[in-house]
Symmetry: C2
Subunit: 206 residues, 2 copies
């Protein structure tokens, strides 16, 4: 046979598609682009992933799967809450420095079709991770170690501060930096401010 064994090319296609989707966006990346970059014929793409939509699902899964398990593992640890948050931030930032267009890609998909996105996410234990974080927070709040803050406020603060610099990277570099390479440094500086804001929001001491 060989059918089920040749996931090598399939993987190569997914990696290439990920890079292109994430660089240029879903709509502006064509199946031809992907095929040309991989160095295969376009119909071959359709052979592996019948439609562009299934191509997307494969790519999105690959992205989420590369982050979610690490986050879940960290949030389960038995160390102070803010230390866990700090480590999760590291995890995100490393991934985003590697691939600064992921946030844009996710945001684009949130706009294009939330339900499709959530359905895809659901298939990879997204809800378990979400639940772990939620419960972790609630127990900290009930124990009085953290202030009581609505979950959606926390969500907006965390992801707003984390994702926005990457969404506006071009603008930030143009307005505030001399050259592109300084951006990574800015992100690590920025991480401290994210932690500061979260502490102000959550920690009882002040």
């Amino acid at each position: 046979m060989g059918a089920l064994e040749n996931n090598e090319l399939e993987q190569q296609i997914i990696e290439t598609a990920k890079r292109l989707f994430v660089e240029k966006g879903f709509v502006e990346t064509s199946m031809s682009d992907i095929a040309a970059t991989v160095g295969i014929n376009r119909p071959t793409l359709h052979y592996y992933f019948r439609t562009k939509d299934r191509m997307f699902q494969a790519v999105f899964s690959s992205i989420v799967m590369s982050l979610l398990p690490r986050v879940r593992e960290i949030m389960k640890r038995d160390i102070p809450f803010m230390e866990r948050v700090s480590m999760v931030l590291d995890e995100y930032l490393v991934r985003f420095i590697e691939n600064p267009y992921i946030p844009k890609f996710i945001c684009e998909e949130v706009q294009r079709d939330v339900n499709h996105l959530l359905a895809t996410a659901k298939e990879m234990q997204f809800e378990e991770t979400f639940a772990i974080i939620k419960e972790g927070l609630q127990s900290e709040m009930e124990a009085g170690r953290l202030k009581t803050v609505p979950l959606h406020i926390l969500f907006l603060t965390f992801y707003g501060l984390l994702l926005f610099p990457l969404l506006s990277k071009n603008l930030v570099v143009t307005l505030f930096l001399k050259e592109d390479s300084e951006f990574e440094l800015l992100l690590w500086e920025w991480k401290q401010y994210i932690l500061l804001h979260l502490k102000n929001l959550l920690c009882v001491d002040g």
Copy 2:
């Protein structure tokens, strides 16, 4: 003649194009869409705005022009800094509640072509407004009424917190709200948190 007098249809086209660009994004809105919505023939669009690109410029100008003068006016007032910020936030939020897709549109354009965007913005006193805010901040900081914080950090905090809820509106509504109509309420609740974060960042008392 009549050429220069018929800015009525031209305005109607711009309004329609703005709505569509802002709802569906630039790439996913076709000239045909716009023409059909206005109720005219597509070549007529090309008669008024030779290319889709000039169409964009007209739309973007219209959006920025509806905000920038108000912001400039407010920032010039002689009232406490945080009060000015609060009023600017109101201005933004009212505009965004009216038209929740503006942030997405701007972000998309920041990614697509920053320089094009900045060039268009430059034509409408964007730099003056930017300078006014910058100087206002510096004088407050030097007078010791505000903590000294790098401009880019302030930029990221302000716009990250302000824009992200609108960029992730679909997700927020799906994850945290019962129905779409609650979103406006959430935004006004969120405004207080934005102010809180900015105070923590800027104000000397704490």
